[in-house]
């Protein structure tokens, strides 16, 4: 090996070699190093790579690993290099190490025995002082899908959930589902671990913990109770991807733990237009203030969830917006669902894939909640260069939204689509017109006339579609329209699309009493060309023949017999069967008694129920919105049914977390769990906690208010009452409160930094300059702290004041001299 290293060293002088392949060139000077990886013979395939990996120079190892990862990325098989690669897991070079890790996760499954060689390295790395190394070791260890190491993995996970670093804990949360898929029997133990993670108070962990919960034990909803309020309050600060998972889980939670807010209105699902979305705030306030009929009172926790998710409608992440929208759709009182529509419409400007999914969801929502999207009708107008699936979805929504008032606008718009050069789209438009016509009685005649005009269109598919739609429409109409039927009978000669021909024939057969003279003639024409027709047309000819024979046997007897005879020898057995059957029923032979014959008229010419023209999305509401199953309209693997509201609300007290007054005792873990994340939260609103927590918070705030003006204490009071609906108001007062704090408590500036960094800039313009500088000092420190500190101090860079006993920092001094005596602020002395 050392000799090899020397060679490489000398190779450096040989300028004719490309520098990137020095290692391999030395070992195998005969082959061209660049191509040998791919073109050399099988038996010495990758020889150069192997020798590069064996060299003791990091650069050549790195080069080799890069090429190997390149092969992995391209999907080429690099598994025979496993022994050579796995040795390098101990490499000191971080980049090499990382690439080896990447390689291991890809191939460990195929080379289980060899993979075991690397385990001890990971075990050692799990104890590394560097949190990144611990985390990545856990990541790789858990990604090696080797049954045998399951116990080691379990141990590692258990240890890591107690890790100081939230990043490692997050990785542990990710490892849980991996472990579960490797060994489902460990479920019980894993649930214990999940329980611990759920109690975690950092925003970094929350999303991943819930994801693990969803994958391992979604049925254990009881684990959520104690964490519910914390999750709601944390939500704003969790990263976007975690938000999606949490909101989806909370939707399910809400459906099992709260009662239906719309129970009283279940009966009148009338589509009264909702309200102007501009008035949403007032509306929301009103909904809460006026007592709902039949005394429905929303659980404060239910309200908390809705309130905390609302700001997320402004997220840049479409998935988050959709998650909130489906939450409101499934769990909010009817009057409040409207606020999501505007955000959904905004998503329509996004990428076409996002558009597609959002439109699917709007299509389902718009069936039940017309009023919600009616103001945005025009956003669903089709552009000719929209992708085909999007055009169809928009059309669907336009039809769903049609009401008596807007139908003329919609029809005018649909008219322009009919002439589109995209014939499939034009055909879909005709169907849409048909649906509008059948749902809104006033326009049925107008639509019918329009469709009849379309029948003289040059394009065959348009004509065919109109015929089919007219047939359906006529069926829903009880009388009249003789002229249309005559017109259609004439078209039999020209139309060639089978479906359309079949429709016309059926129509003439069904309403032959309205056109007694024409019907037999049509049958004559059809009989002439019977053999060259499509199967579905033949079947309809037989039907027509049978019906005509019943109503008008004198004129048509011979003709009918002729048709039946032709059908008897048809190639298609369905047609032969049908012919035989019809013949027996309508014109029984001498030896059969013809039991059915006297009832034939009842059988064939009974009034048939009209087809219902309805949305394709009608049945989709069985699926939870925003899910994959909803979009594909099929139950996908792992889909969880959205439970129905419980009749009686389960005990709400399960969500109560024991509240310990922070200043009475050393903070208990439980108390911390609840308090801490709120404080850490950089951007979350502090006033937003639920009412019972508010009281506690208020009391702590009160103290800091000692020198604040009266005006504010007034506001404070109003806060108390406002409970849930005073959302905006209370925020404002919060802001101003902070302002005054900034101004008045100069000496406390340090300990305020947490709040200061959040709100410091809210101070008035002239105050800002000196103030901001102070805040900044700590601001800079904050993110910097956790990286360097790995020892005991790294647990969280902010310590609870209780823990600070240094008696030196500003907070402690202030506390002693009882300038303040509240415990909710944090100090930065890190002791």
């Amino acid at each position: 090996m050392s000799g090899n290293g020397l060679h490489v060293g000398t190779g450096g002088y040989a300028n004719e070699r490309p520098p990137s392949s020095t290692g391999s060139a030395e070992m195998d000077p005969a082959t061209d190093p660049a191509s040998s990886g791919f073109f050399s013979n099988d038996y010495k395939r990758h020889d150069d790579l192997k020798s590069m990996l064996d060299s003791n120079k990091d650069t050549s190892k790195l080069e080799a690993m890069k090429r190997i990862i390149g092969m992995v990325a391209k999907g080429k098989d690099a598994s025979d290099l496993f022994p050579a690669v796995v040795k390098n897991v101990v490499s000191k070079n971080l980049e090499v190490k990382k690439l080896v890790y990447v390689y291991l996760t890809r191939y460990a499954e195929e080379q289980q025995d060899l993979a075991l060689l690397s385990i001890s390295t990971f075990q050692r790395a799990l104890k590394d002082p560097n949190q990144l190394i611990r985390a990545s070791a856990l990541r790789v260890l858990s990604s090696i899908r080797v049954q045998m190491i399951a116990p080691i993995m379990m141990l590692a996970i258990k240890e890591s959930v107690m890790d100081m670093s939230p990043f490692v804990r997050k990785t542990a949360a990710h490892a849980i589902p991996k472990m579960y898929s490797l060994d489902p029997e460990q479920k019980e133990q894993l649930i214990e671990v999940i329980e611990k993670l759920l109690a975690d108070k950092t925003t970094l962990v929350a999303g991943s913990a819930i994801q693990a919960f969803e994958e391992v034990c979604p049925e254990r909803i009881d684990l959520i109770h104690k964490n519910y309020r914390k999750l709601c309050n944390l939500l704003v600060d969790v990263e976007e991807w975690g938000q999606v998972v949490i909101i989806n889980m909370l939707t399910r939670y809400a459906r099992t733990q709260f009662t239906n807010p719309n129970k009283d209105e279940m009966q009148d699902e009338a589509d009264r237009p909702f309200y102007d979305t501009d008035k949403e705030e007032e509306e929301e306030g009103a909904a809460e203030e006026k007592p709902q009929p039949k005394t429905y009172i929303m659980d404060p926790d239910h309200r908390l969830l809705l309130r905390q998710t609302k700001p997320l409608l402004n997220s840049r992440n479409a998935a988050v917006v959709m998650a909130v929208a489906q939450l409101y759709h499934h769990c909010a009182p009817k009057s409040e669902v409207g606020i999501v529509s505007r955000s959904l419409i905004r998503l329509l400007r996004s990428h076409k894939e996002v558009q597609y999914v959002v439109l699917c969801n709007i299509a389902t929502m718009s069936i039940k909640r017309k009023g919600m999207f009616e103001p945005y009708l025009k956003s669903f107008y089709v552009r000719m260069n929209d992708p085909a699936p999007i055009k169809l979805l928009k059309l669907e929504i336009l039809t769903n939204l049609a009401t008596e008032t807007n139908i003329s606008t919609i029809l005018r718009e649909l008219q322009t689509y009919v002439t589109s050069s995209d014939k499939e789209f034009a055909a879909a438009t005709i169907q849409a017109i048909g649906r509008c016509a059948s749902s809104i009685a006033e326009i049925t005649d107008t639509c019918l006339n329009g469709l009849v005009r379309l029948m003289s269109n040059r394009d065959e598919s348009v004509v065919a579609e109109s015929v089919v739609v007219i047939k359906k429409l006529l069926q829903t109409q009880s009388s009249g329209h003789k002229d249309i039927i005559i017109h259609m009978a004439r078209m039999v000669d020209t139309i060639t699309v089978p479906m359309a021909r079949a429709s016309i024939l059926w129509l003439i057969g069904e309403y032959s009493d309205r056109v007694p003279k024409i019907a037999p003639d049509v049958l004559r024409k059809m009989a002439k060309g019977f053999i060259s027709e499509e199967d579905i047309v033949k079947l309809q000819i037989l039907n027509l023949a049978a019906k005509l024979f019943i109503t008008n046997s004198k004129q048509t007897k011979l003709l009918v017999q002729y048709v039946f005879n032709l059908a008897k020898y048809d190639q298609n057995y369905d047609i032969r069967d049908r012919a035989r059957f019809l013949r027996q029923v309508v014109m029984p032979g001498e030896n059969s008694r013809g039991l059915f014959t006297k009832h034939a008229k009842k059988i064939f010419l009974a009034t048939k129920p009209a087809p219902v023209l309805e949305s394709k999305f009608k049945d989709r509401d069985q699926f939870q919105l925003g899910t994959l199953s909803h979009v594909i309209n099929k139950r996908s693997t792992g889909y969880q049914e959205l439970p129905d509201w419980p009749e009686v609300e389960p005990d709400p007290s399960v969500r109560n977390v024991e509240v310990v007054m922070p200043w009475t005792e050393k903070t208990t873990t439980k108390e911390r769990k609840d308090k801490k994340p709120k404080k850490e939260a950089f951007y979350s609103d502090e006033e937003s906690s639920s009412a019972d927590e508010d009281s506690e918070e208020e009391s702590s705030d009160d103290e800091s208010e000692e020198d604040s003006s009266e005006e504010e204490s007034n506001q404070e009071e109003s806060d108390d009452e406002s409970g849930s609906d005073g959302d905006e108001k209370s925020e404002k007062s919060e802001e101003s409160k902070e302002d005054s704090e900034d101004e008045s408590e100069e000496e406390n500036s340090d300990e305020e930094s947490e709040e200061g960094s959040e709100e410091s800039d809210s101070a008035s313009e002239e105050e800002v300059k000196p103030k901001a500088r102070v805040t900044n000092k700590t601001d800079k420190k904050t993110p910097g702290a956790p990286a360097q500190s790995t020892g005991p101090a790294s647990r969280d860079f902010l310590l609870d004041l209780d823990d600070c006993k240094c008696n030196e920092c500003l907070v402690c001094i202030a506390l002693k001299s009882s300038v303040i005596d509240k415990v909710t602020l944090y100090c930065h002395c890190n002791k």
Binding site: I69, W241, I345, E728, A772
Partner: protein, 418 residues
């Protein structure tokens, strides 16, 4: 959640794959190809394809298909959003996200994908964090690496952002020139009907930023007329509370390029249409069809309309067009039947026009409807909605940054029915 990931180029070559759980053979992409072959246009491929055991969620971008394979229930937007975000990050790393740039940087792409997801669930998606973990390719660094023999491609410590309250910002940022640029970009989506009246017009706007500021600046951006913004989506760095109460944008910005907000101004507000078309299109048998379009500015607030491009997709029965523009150049793509007229800028003195004949296939029926026209244009130094930045204040750092605001109005989906 996300099981595997494939990148497919236009010729159907699966040139990159990554698996976060067990390996799925790339033959799964055959289902995708099957579905793709059914579609007339690349845009029509359904974003979600169902196969017996897997679901393929795909996006199409830069002539590439990015396909994610999932096996269990997952919010589809979650996956789509991830794919788009991944493409954005690649673009950020390699300046462009094309087949060549991805192929040139196989290893980095693979490492990035490995960092982004863990077990199929997003781990680090912030460009600022990723850039600390895996350094973007950089010419200077490559040289230092070769000279010193060390590799600096990956970082050994956890990026501090990951744990902080501002995960989108790197720490220890240092610039000699501190500058912050804000581009207010607005796109008009409109449908204009035959008679020239507006069927629908909406404005979608963005504030895109390039922030190169040292340390941890805390910025406050205020608008003269924030009431205009009633439907906004925010970058996570924005303090929602401040917006709700004071209508100012207060944030600690990420480092580099990012989109601060995007907003949507709905149709109920009247939107001034800056350009108008006069058109006369007539089909007749043979080569006697007529095509005559004139463009004139309408409400441009005294600004010049630039980069005007007119597109017209003719029906299949059109063979060719012979046109003479008064300004600019036109081209006709005989396969897609698309006529593109590159007009350039509209001078206030004379309005551009294009005139000529359409030749139809003989014997083919005369198309019954005229083709819709699509317009592209841009107007610089104008935000059509009237949105104006009032001031930008910086707190928390002592230096004086250079600040710049730019306005631009563009045509989004601007269609004229004829």
């Amino acid at each position: 959640m996300i099981h595997s990931f494939f990148i497919i180029n236009n010729t159907g070559d699966v040139f990159m794959e990554k698996h976060w759980k067990s390996v799925i053979n790339k033959s799964i992409c055959d289902y995708f190809f099957e579905e793709q072959s059914k579609c007339a246009s690349v845009d029509d491929v359904p974003p979600i394809i169902v196969t017996p055991h897997h679901y393929l969620i795909n996006i199409y971008k830069n002539q590439l298909y990015f396909v994610a394979v999932v096996t269990t229930e997952v919010p589809p937007l979650f996956v789509t959003e991830f794919l788009h975000r991944a493409v954005e990050i690649f673009t950020d790393y390699f300046q462009e996200c094309t087949e060549t740039s991805l192929k040139d940087n196989y290893v980095i792409v693979y490492e990035l994908l490995d960092e982004m997801l863990d077990n199929g669930f997003p781990l680090a998606m912030e460009a600022n964090i990723l850039k600390e973990l895996i350094k973007p390719p950089n010419f200077l660094r490559t040289i230092t690496d070769t000279v010193t023999g060390k590799s600096t491609g990956v970082s050994g410590t956890l990026p501090t952002g990951q744990l902080s309250n501002v995960p989108w910002r790197r720490t220890g940022v240092k610039y000699t020139n501190n500058e912050a640029y804000f581009d207010v970009i607005e796109e008009i989506d409109a449908i204009i009907d035959k008679s020239g009246s507006t069927v629908i017009a909406e404005i979608t706007g963005y504030v895109d930023c390039l922030v190169k500021l040292s340390g941890m600046p805390d910025l406050t951006l205020s608008f003269i007329n924030p009431r205009l913004l009633d439907d906004v989506s925010f970058h996570p760095c924005i303090r929602f509370k401040r917006w709700e109460s004071e209508r100012v944008l207060s944030f600690v910005p990420p480092d580099g390029n990012f989109r601060l907000i995007s907003y949507h101004i709905a149709s109920n507000n009247t939107v001034a249409i800056p350009i108008q078309l006069r058109h006369n299109i007539l089909y007749r048998e043979g080569s006697a069809g007529k095509f005559d379009v004139q463009i004139s500015p309408k409400q441009t607030m005294g600004k010049t309309v630039e980069n005007v491009v007119l597109e017209c997709t003719f029906p299949k029965s059109v063979l060719n067009v012979t046109l003479t523009p008064t300004q600019g150049k036109y081209s006709f793509d005989p396969v897609g039947k698309v006529m593109t007229w590159d007009v350039g800028r509209i001078e206030p003195s004379k309005y551009p026009g294009i005139k000529g004949n359409i030749s139809l296939q003989t014997g083919a029926p005369i198309p019954e409807a005229n083709p819709p026209l699509t317009l592209h244009f841009s107007i610089s130094q104008l935000a059509l909605s009237g949105l104006k930045v009032n001031r930008l204040d910086m707190y928390g750092e002592k230096y004086k940054p250079f600040k710049g605001v730019k306005y631009l109005t563009k045509a989004g989906k601007f269609q004229v029915r004829t």
